[in-house]
Symmetry: C2
Subunit: 255 residues, 2 copies
Amino acid sequence: MIEPGQIIDFSKIKATCSNCSLHELCLPRGLKIADLEKLEHVVKGSRPIEKGKHIFRAEDPFESIYAVRTGSVKVYIINESGEEQIIGFYFPGEIIGFDAIEHHKHTCSAVTLETTTYCAMPYGKMSDICKEIPEFQNQMFRLLSREISNENQLLLTINKRSAEERIATFLISLSSRFRNLGYSAKEYNLPMSRQEIGNYLGLTIETVSRLFTKFQRNGLVKIDRKSISLENLPAIHAICDGFSERGKDNKNSVA
Amino acid sequence: MIEPGQIIDFSKIKATCSNCSLHELCLPRGLKIADLEKLEHVVKGSRPIEKGKHIFRAEDPFESIYAVRTGSVKVYIINESGEEQIIGFYFPGEIIGFDAIEHHKHTCSAVTLETTTYCAMPYGKMSDICKEIPEFQNQMFRLLSREISNENQLLLTINKRSAEERIATFLISLSSRFRNLGYSAKEYNLPMSRQEIGNYLGLTIETVSRLFTKFQRNGLVKIDRKSISLENLPAIHAICDGFSERGKDNKNSVA
DNA sequence: CGCTTCTTTGATTCAACTCAATGGATGTGG
DNA sequence: CCACATCCATTGAGTTGAATCAAAGAAGCG
């Protein structure tokens, strides 16, 4: 299938953080050139991984943390009853695998949503570099801290928001992440299924579908299968902030 | 009110990790004696803080992380609309404040639920110690990792569980944490209000109250105001695992 | 082109919420 | 010590937002 001339030997493509377009967003952010080089020696870039392949699975021994380089990944846990809960969707420059540090094995699974490349960073070596480069240690702590804050926000969204507000918040979150990556904040592709969006937000697929239809009917978005265009960003933002008005305010606040 | 003879000068009580009963559960876990001493020099124990006082508030500059020593603390965030979302309840040996690392200021607020003492650990110094003591750096990473896993579990509980299952899971979680602390796993006090339990679990106070009543009617628990006794642990566990049967299974799993 | 998977839409149900009222604790001042 | 006020919790009645059940339509795939 692949002609000799077309073969690309990915093992020969040296993963260098310094020439990676993501290095200001990803783990090396803020490192000096000299320090960057130390990091590069332990980072191992992957060849492209096709959609639906696992990067790691729950219970796997903890080898590395991973930075998404291109594509997208969903991270999920499965409980005793076999139910899946998606914890997050990850895009280029974002790091996965932090949950495995505590028990030296993964508690989540990570699967690609489309063809994806990533960088593996062996945890032992990362840990060593932290001792050598204070700024790198800080960066690791920052990333872990961010992960915690992100989950706090997600918890807030799920616990306090209506289905409509959750969907709007989800769309805005993706939008701003794509903007940070230099892509359009208005138009993008949803690499995940309706099912997965629902699972993540604590809604059923039917509810997700109905709300997409409703948003479209109201001119907030245009959706064609996986591609979405946010036609009225202010209105979508307004929904996030709870201006779909329903009792709201201190529905369940503690004095 | 306080007679001279009764004055306790808490500033003279040296907070030492080595003689703290929590040191095997708390941050110093697994450190060597020599390393413990380095830690002790930067840890500052608090005097008892009365119920309802803040340890830190959102937007406060990030000085320290804190270990609860006695009592209990709730950590919450407030969104633009002023709604409160409780992120967690923290008991002796548990650490709060990790969310502030990224932006050098707190994103959550922490308030005592009863008279509480804690240990403050200045982040800058902690960061230094991490560089000196590899095992300490590992421990910090582990604690951050645990926080992430805990939130993953909470997300699963809230997104996939019925009100009944959430309450049961909550009671079991408290039970096992108290057991780890050497207290009774069967009988304990709920330092938080019904309102706060509901807020945390994404339920209204009425639902919490009704389910407490129902559990009591069915002989699972005995509840008297703040004190609770788990009378039928196996049955409560069964509810956690979803044996209250309702469709369940792959309600919203992704293939 | 037939098969499967994903998505949309409609009708109906139900778990949890809202609204409302009462009951019990706790606290304060006279 | 009691009267009163406040706060928190419980209980009941009625409502509703999202789930479930059901079916049809569209897209992707070998």
